[in-house]
């Protein structure tokens, strides 16, 4: 009788553990953790669309566009196309610039205090109708950005990558927005940014 009771407890324990494990696996898989996108990112080829020259102690870098089979357009900054040292972001192909004329990533080492920042760059894409892009700094000054035509899939964009001067950042002056203009100098839109 004692053995039978022990067996029942053992069976109950096993059932609880198995049900718990299956439930946790089902719940975990129901959350979109981006694993399908990260797998697609690892597979899809990258196309170099802009260059960031070595300067100010920072290395030469490329700006790369990537179309994934999950329907995303990713823009990365990396030393070369197959480098593991790659950072950036992805949007869906039906809204590649988040509904704005310009979309970018600010990249840097050091911080979060602005005076500690080094190797700072800005890179991204603008709509083809954008004539110029400038970076607005916190002291009211502007930094020019060189645009380069880039075809990504069937769409035309203008790509850019620019390095921010460490000496300027050391004074506590940081980028506050990236602004897109048309050929007449009229502002088409801006995206705010900052250190930290």
């Amino acid at each position: 009788m004692f053995a039978s009771r022990r067996r029942r407890w053992l069976v109950a324990l096993v059932v609880v553990v198995v049900v718990g494990a299956v439930a946790s696996a089902v719940v975990a898989s129901s959350f979109d953790d981006g694993s399908s996108l990260t797998a697609a990112i690892d597979e899809a080829p990258l196309t170099r669309v802009a260059d960031i020259a070595a300067d100010d102690g920072g290395p030469a870098l490329g700006v790369y566009a990537q179309l994934t089979d999950t329907g995303h357009l990713c823009v990365w900054e990396a030393p070369f196309a197959t480098s593991r040292q790659r950072g950036g972001g992805c949007n869906t192909v039906d809204d590649p610039l988040n509904g704005r004329p310009v979309s970018f990533t600010l990249s840097y080492d050091g911080g979060p205090a602005t005076v500690d920042v080094r190797n700072a760059t800005l890179f991204g894409l603008a709509l083809d109708e954008v004539a110029s892009v400038r970076v607005l700094m916190s002291d009211g000054s502007w930094q020019a950005v060189k645009l380069r035509k880039a075809k990504v899939g069937a769409d035309e964009f203008k790509a850019f990558g620019v390095r921010l001067k460490t000496a300027v950042l050391k004074k506590g002056i940081e980028p506050t927005a990236v602004v897109a203009f048309d050929a007449s100098g009229v502002e088409l839109g801006r995206q705010a940014t900052g250190i930290g």
Binding site: A21, F31, R84, G87, T92, T105, P112
Partner: protein, 110 residues
């Protein structure tokens, strides 16, 4: 009976651990507010840190924080739906993500 029980428990453990290893979600899906942040544990084995939002155009930051001077390394700030940075090759770091606006999203490290 005991052997079967051990085998079943081992299988369950395998199922749980494989689910956990796919990606470590150090900040599960939730509502974020400006200035809100989250961080993973420190490790020398992290590969990449990502911040995923539901909807587009939300300003956010991903970075790695060194365990010695707590400096930020390979920081990326942007509004992409999926923002990712890579871990440095040397040292011990924790993944860290910061929201700069209101949105729904999650942070993962792998």
């Amino acid at each position: 009976m005991r052997r079967i029980a051990i085998a079943v428990v081992a299988l369950a453990c395998l199922l749980i651990s494989s689910t956990a290893l796919a990606a470590y979600q150090y900040a599960p899906p939730r509502q974020w507010t400006p200035g809100a942040s989250a961080g993973s544990t420190f490790s020398s084995n992290w590969f990449a840190n990502s911040f995923m939002t539901y909807g587009s155009g939300y300003d956010k930051t991903v970075t790695f924080i060194r365990n010695t001077n707590y400096g930020w390394v390979n920081t990326k700030r942007g509004t992409a739906d999926y923002l990712e940075t890579y871990a440095p090759f040397d040292g011990t770091y924790k993944a860290h993500c910061v929201a700069h606006t209101y949105f729904w999203g999650s942070c993962n490290v792998r």
